[in-house]
C-alpha cells in the first residue's frame, strides 16, 4: 500500500515542482519521498520509476494528442526512430530511470541512518 501512495505522491509532486524548477528536480522528489516513506531499495526503485514515468507519460500523451503527433513524429525522425510512439517510450523510460535510481538512492541513504 505504501508503495502505491509513494508512487502517487512522486507523480503529483514532480508535476507541480517541474513548473518552477528544471527537470532534474524529479530526482530530488523521488529521493525525498522514498527517504520519507522508508521503502526498501527494490520498492524504492519501483516507486521512483513508476512515479516519474506516470507523470511524464501523462504530460507527454496529453501534449502529443493535442498536437496530433506533429512534434513527436519530427523528433522521432530526428532520433532515427521509426514511429512517434517510440519517442514517447524513450521519454518515459528516461524519466522513469532517473526517478527509479533516485528512489533507490533515497532508500539506501535512509538505511545509512536507520
Amino acid at each position: 500500500m505504501r508503495i502505491i501512495i509513494a508512487t502517487f505522491f512522486i507523480a503529483i509532486l514532480a508535476f507541480v515542482v517541474e513548473y518552477y524548477w528544471p527537470w532534474w528536480i524529479i530526482a530530488v522528489v523521488a529521493f525525498v519521498i522514498i527517504f520519507l516513506f522508508n521503502l526498501n531499495p527494490g520498492r524504492g526503485f519501483i516507486a521512483g520509476f513508476l512515479g516519474i514515468a506516470i507523470c511524464w507519460l501523462a504530460v507527454a500523451l496529453w501534449r502529443d494528442t493535442l498536437n496530433e503527433h506533429i512534434l513527436s513524429q519530427r523528433m522521432a525522425t530526428l532520433f532515427g526512430l521509426p514511429h512517434y510512439t517510440l519517442f514517447i517510450v524513450l521519454t518515459v523510460f528516461l524519466g522513469g530511470l532517473t526517478g527509479g535510481l533516485a528512489g533507490w538512492s533515497g532508500s539506501q541513504t535512509r538505511r545509512i541512518f536507520n
Partner: protein, 808 residues
C-alpha cells in the same frame, strides 16, 4: 559497509549530470525530453487559441492583432511606435530562433553557439566587413527620426517578448542546440539588412575573371566571356530614351591600374558557385481583362524553414500595407498598400570590387597608396567559439575597405595575395527609410522618393498603382565608373582605381508607362547600350527571354494567367539547344536503350515538368555536354567560372568548329560531334543508374528541398514534386527557388494572391510550420485578406484576436 549505501546516490547524481549536459554535440537528453519543460512544451495544440490579452510595458495605446485562418497577423495600431513594437513582438513570438541565427550568421557569430566547425565561415563574415557595414548603416538609420522610432520600438517589442520567456517557452532549436536567446539590439536589424545585401550583391567574378583575362588570348576571352550577352531583352525596354549623363565620362587609366595574377598566386582546388534569380512584371490595363494593372513578383532565394519571409498586414491611421516582412527587420518589404503595389528582383549590377594591396616591405602595418606609405586601420574581431578560447582576427582596412584575403586567409582557389574589398554594402545606407516611405506611398512621386533611399542591394523595382500607372526602376546606388572599372582586380596603390562620384539617383535606368504596355525583369542586363553610364554585372537572360516572349503576346490577361506564367517551366535553353544536340546524335550508331530515350527527347516540348523523364534526359545531357566542353580547359579557374550557359548556347548555334570543343586530356582532336555523342552516352548511362536508385522523373533527379536552417533533415522537406529549374520562370532548383509568389490586381478593391514555401510559425512542433508548402509545390495561391483600415473588422474573416494593452 554501511557507507556503500551512498553509492546509489552517486550513480544517480552522475546520471542526472550526464543527462543535463550536452555531450559530443548531442543535446542534454534529460533536459530535452522532459515533457513539461523540454521539447514537448513545443508541441503546440493544433487548436491553440491565439485570442488573448497581454499587458505590455512601453506600449502607448492598445494594439489589436487579428489573425486570419492562415495565421497571418493584421496589426492595427494608433501610431508608428506601437505598430513596430507589435511587429517586433509578433516576429519574435513566431520566428525568434531564426532571427537570432540569421543575424549571428551576418555578424560572424555562429561559432559561439555551434563550435569550431563554423570558424572559417565566421572569419569570412568578419573579413568582408559585415559588422563594419552594419555599424555604418545603423548610424544613418538612428540619425533619421522616422527610422530611429521604427528601430527602437521594434527592438523593444522583441525584447519584451524575450524577457517573458522561460526555458520552457524557448523555440525548439534553442533546446536542441543548447543555447539561450539574447537581448535584441538595433544593430541586429542593421545586420539582417546587410545579410540580405550580402546574399544579393555578394556574388562576384572579379578574381576568376582576372585569372582568365591573364590566361586567355584577348580574342578568346572576349568571345567566351563577353561583357554582356548579345540579344538581351533588357529590364528597361530597348528604345527607352535616357537623359544624357550629368557626370563626365572618366577616361580609362593606363594598364598600371590593373593587377595581374599568376597561376602561382593560387594554392588549392576550386569550388562551384550558384547564382540566384527572381522575376517580376506588371501588365498595364491595356493587356489585362479587367483593364487595370496586374503586378507579379517572385523573388528567388534560399529555400529554408523557417521561411525567410513572414506575411503581415500593418495599419496605422496613415498607413495600410500588406505583404511580406523579414523577421529581424521592421516594415513590409514586398507588397501593396491602399494605393500602390511593388515588387523586387535582384539588379545584379556589380557593386563589389577588389584591390590588390601592396604591403610596405618590412612593415606589416602599412601599405602603398599613391606613392605614399599609409598605415592600415586595424579592427580587432573577437570570435567566440563554444567550448574553446576566443579567436582574435586583426583585420586591416585600407582606403578602399577591409583586406578580406591575405596569406593567413586565402581567397578563392587558395589565392594568397592580399586583396582589399570595396563594396556598396559597407556604405552608410538607410534601406529601412525606403521601406518606411514605400509602405506609405500613395502614388508614383512618393514611390520614387521612397526608393531613392534604397541603395544596396540594388533591385529592379516594379510598380503599379490604382490610377493605372506602371513603372520599373533599376534602383540602387551606383558609381560613375570608367569603362571596365571593377570588372577585374585593380591596383590598390593607384588612386585612379578608386571609386569616384556616385551617379545621381534620378539618372538610374527607369521607365514609366512604356508603350509596350508592360514592364518586367528577371535579372537580365538592365539597359541596352544607349544608357550613358558604363556598368557591368552578373546578368542572366533565359527567364527574361521567356517572360518577354509571353508578355509580348498577352492580351486580356487574368490573374489565373499570371499564376500560370509564374509556374511556367518552359526552357528557352532547351528549345534552342536540343534541336542542335539531336542533329549530331540522331545518325550515329546507338544501342536500343539509347534509341528509346532519343525518341522521348524528339517528342519533348521543352517544359521541365515535375514528372517528365525527357526533362531529366535533357538536363543531364546538357550538364554533361557543358562539362565535357569546358571542364578540360577551365578546371583551374577559381570558382569554376566557365562561360555562361547563355554564351555556350550562342556558340553552339553559331560556331561548330570552336577549338575549345576538343578534349585536351586525350591525344585525339575531338570536335563538337564527339562531345555530343560522348555526353549523350554518358547521359544514358546515368539514367540507367538513376532508374535503379532514385527514379528518373525530373523532380526526383533535381530533388528540390526546403531545408531547415540547422540542416536537420527531420525538420526539412525533400523531393518536392515541382517542375522547373534555374533558367525557367518557375526557378525551383535544388535549394533555391521562388521564395514568395505574389500577384496583385490593382482594382478598386485590390485583389491579391500569394504563397510561400513555408508557414507562419517557425516552430517545427506547430501545424503552421510548413502549412503553405504543398500549395506552393502545386502552384496554388491564397487570396490575401486585405482588411480595410479601421478599428473594428468583420468577424467572419478573423479567426483569433490578440490584444496588446499598455501596462499601467
Amino acid at each position: 559497509m554501511r557507507l556503500l549505501r551512498i553509492v546509489p546516490l552517486l550513480i544517480t547524481i552522475v546520471l542526472v549530470y550526464v543527462l543535463n549536459k550536452p555531450i559530443l554535440g548531442l543535446p542534454a537528453f534529460g533536459k530535452l525530453l522532459d515533457p513539461i519543460n523540454g521539447c514537448w512544451a513545443n508541441a503546440e495544440d493544433v487548436n491553440n487559441n491565439y485570442t488573448q490579452k497581454f499587458s505590455l510595458q512601453q506600449l502607448q495605446h492598445p494594439v489589436t492583432i487579428w489573425f486570419d485562418d492562415r495565421l497571418v497577423p493584421h496589426i492595427h495600431a494608433e501610431n508608428d511606435h506601437d505598430l513596430y513594437f507589435a511587429e517586433g513582438y509578433i516576429h519574435a513570438y513566431f520566428r525568434l530562433w531564426q532571427m537570432d541565427m540569421e543575424t549571428r550568421a551576418a555578424a560572424g557569430r555562429v561559432s559561439e553557439v555551434v563550435g569550431k566547425k563554423t570558424l572559417k565561415f565566421d572569419r569570412t563574415q568578419r573579413r568582408k566587413g559585415m559588422v563594419f557595414g552594419a555599424e555604418n548603416s545603423l548610424r544613418v538609420m538612428e540619425a533619421d527620426p522616422r527610422t530611429k522610432t521604427m528601430l527602437d520600438a521594434y527592438t523593444a517589442g522583441i525584447n519584451t517578448y524575450i524577457h517573458s520567456l522561460k526555458y520552457r517557452n524557448y523555440p525548439l532549436e534553442y533546446k536542441l542546440l543548447g543555447f539561450a536567446p539574447e537581448q535584441w539590439t538595433n544593430l541586429k536589424c542593421a545586420l539582417l539588412l546587410k545579410y540580405m545585401a550580402d546574399d544579393l550583391t555578394g556574388y562576384t567574378e572579379d578574381i576568376p575573371l582576372t585569372f582568365l583575362r591573364d590566361m586567355l588570348p584577348k580574342e578568346d576571352f572576349d568571345l567566351l566571356y563577353p561583357e554582356k550577352i548579345s540579344g538581351s531583352t533588357p529590364v528597361i525596354p530597348t528604345g527607352t530614351h535616357f537623359e544624357p549623363a550629368s557626370l563626365p565620362t572618366i577616361p580609362v587609366p593606363d594598364d598600371s591600374v590593373w593587377t595581374h595574377l599568376q597561376p602561382g598566386d593560387f594554392t588549392d582546388t576550386r569550388k562551384e558557385h550558384d547564382g540566384k534569380g527572381s522575376n517580376n512584371w506588371v501588365l498595364s490595363g491595356m493587356r489585362t481583362q479587367s483593364g487595370v494593372p496586374i503586378l507579379c513578383n517572385d523573388p528567388h532565394l534560399g529555400l529554408n524553414l523557417p521561411s525567410l519571409w513572414y506575411e503581415a498586414q500593418l495599419q496605422t491611421p496613415d498607413m495600410n500595407v500588406y505583404g511580406v516582412s523579414l523577421p529581424g527587420a521592421p516594415g513590409i518589404v514586398i507588397g501593396f498598400n491602399d494605393s500602390i503595389s511593388w515588387g523586387f528582383t535582384n539588379n545584379y549590377r556589380d557593386v563589389k570590387d577588389f584591390y590588390a594591396v601592396e604591403q610596405v616591405k618590412n612593415d606589416s602595418n602599412s601599405y602603398w597608396f599613391d606613392g605614399k606609405q599609409v598605415p592600415f586601420v586595424k579592427r580587432m574581431e573577437h570570435i567566440a567559439i563554444k567550448g574553446e578560447p576566443d579567436f582574435i582576427d586583426t583585420i586591416n582596412y585600407t582606403i578602399q575597405g577591409p583586406v578580406i584575403y591575405d596569406e593567413h586567409f586565402h581567397g578563392p582557389g587558395g589565392l594568397k595575395r592580399p586583396l582589399a574589398l570595396c563594396w556598396m554594402a559597407h556604405k552608410s545606407t538607410n534601406e529601412l527609410l525606403a521601406l518606411y516611405l514605400l509602405d506609405r506611398a500613395k502614388g508614383y512621386t512618393e514611390y520614387v522618393d521612397a526608393i531613392f533611399n534604397f541603395q544596396c542591394p540594388a533591385q529592379n523595382m516594379v510598380y503599379a498603382d490604382k490610377d493605372g500607372n506602371i513603372a520599373i526602376w533599376g534602383q540602387g546606388q551606383f558609381v560613375n565608373k570608367w569603362k571596365e572599372q571593377g570588372r577585374f582586380i585593380m591596383n590598390g596603390a593607384d588612386k585612379d582605381a578608386l571609386w569616384k562620384e556616385m551617379i545621381p539617383m534620378k539618372e538610374n535606368p527607369h521607365v514609366l508607362n512604356p508603350p509596350q504596355g508592360y514592364v518586367s525583369s528577371a535579372n537580365q542586363s538592365v539597359t541596352d547600350s544607349t544608357y550613358p553610364y558604363w556598368y557591368n554585372g552578373y546578368f542572366l537572360e533565359f527567364r527574361a527571354w521567356r517572360i518577354n516572349q509571353v508578355l509580348g503576346e498577352t492580351k486580356k490577361a487574368t490573374v489565373q494567367d499570371m499564376f500560370n506564367l509564374q509556374n511556367d517551366t518552359y526552357s528557352v535553353l532547351a528549345a534552342n539547344t536540343l534541336p542542335i544536340m539531336l542533329r549530331y546524335v540522331r545518325n550515329t550508331s546507338l544501342t536500343p536503350d539509347e534509341k528509346k530515350y532519343l525518341n522521348k527527347l524528339i517528342n519533348w516540348r521543352y517544359f521541365l515538368s515535375a514528372d517528365d523523364v525527357a526533362a531529366s534526359l535533357y538536363q543531364i545531357w546538357w550538364d554533361k555536354l557543358y562539362r565535357d566542353i569546358w571542364s578540360d580547359d577551365f578546371e583551374k579557374v577559381p570558382d569554376n567560372l566557365w562561360p555562361l550557359p547563355e554564351r555556350t548556347m550562342q556558340l553552339l548555334q553559331t560556331d561548330s568548329t570552336l577549338k575549345y570543343y576538343d578534349d585536351k586530356n586525350t591525344p585525339a582532336v575531338e570536335g563538337l560531334k564527339d562531345m555530343m555523342v560522348r555526353s549523350y552516352k554518358e547521359t544514358i548511362d546515368t539514367i540507367g543508374k538513376l532508374e535503379k536508385t532514385t527514379g528518373v522523373e525530373w523532380y526526383k533527379v533535381k530533388n528540390t528541398t526546403v531545408e531547415h536552417l540547422a540542416k536537420l533533415p527531420a525538420f526539412s522537406f525533400a523531393n518536392l514534386k515541382i517542375g522547373g529549374w534555374g533558367n525557367t520562370i518557375n526557378a525551383a532548383k535544388h535549394d533555391h527557388g521562388p521564395s514568395w509568389r505574389m500577384v496583385v490586381q490593382m482594382s478598386k478593391d485590390i485583389e491579391a494572391y500569394g504563397v510561400y514555401p513555408g508557414g507562419q510559425s517557425g516552430n517545427p512542433g506547430s501545424k503552421y510550420y510548413a502549412s503553405f508548402l504543398q500549395n506552393w509545390v502545386d502552384g496554388k495561391y491564397y487570396r490575401l485578406l486585405f482588411l480595410p483600415n479601421q478599428k473594428q473588422q468583420n468577424i467572419t474573416d478573423i479567426k483569433y484576436t490578440l490584444t496588446l494593452q499598455p501596462k499601467l
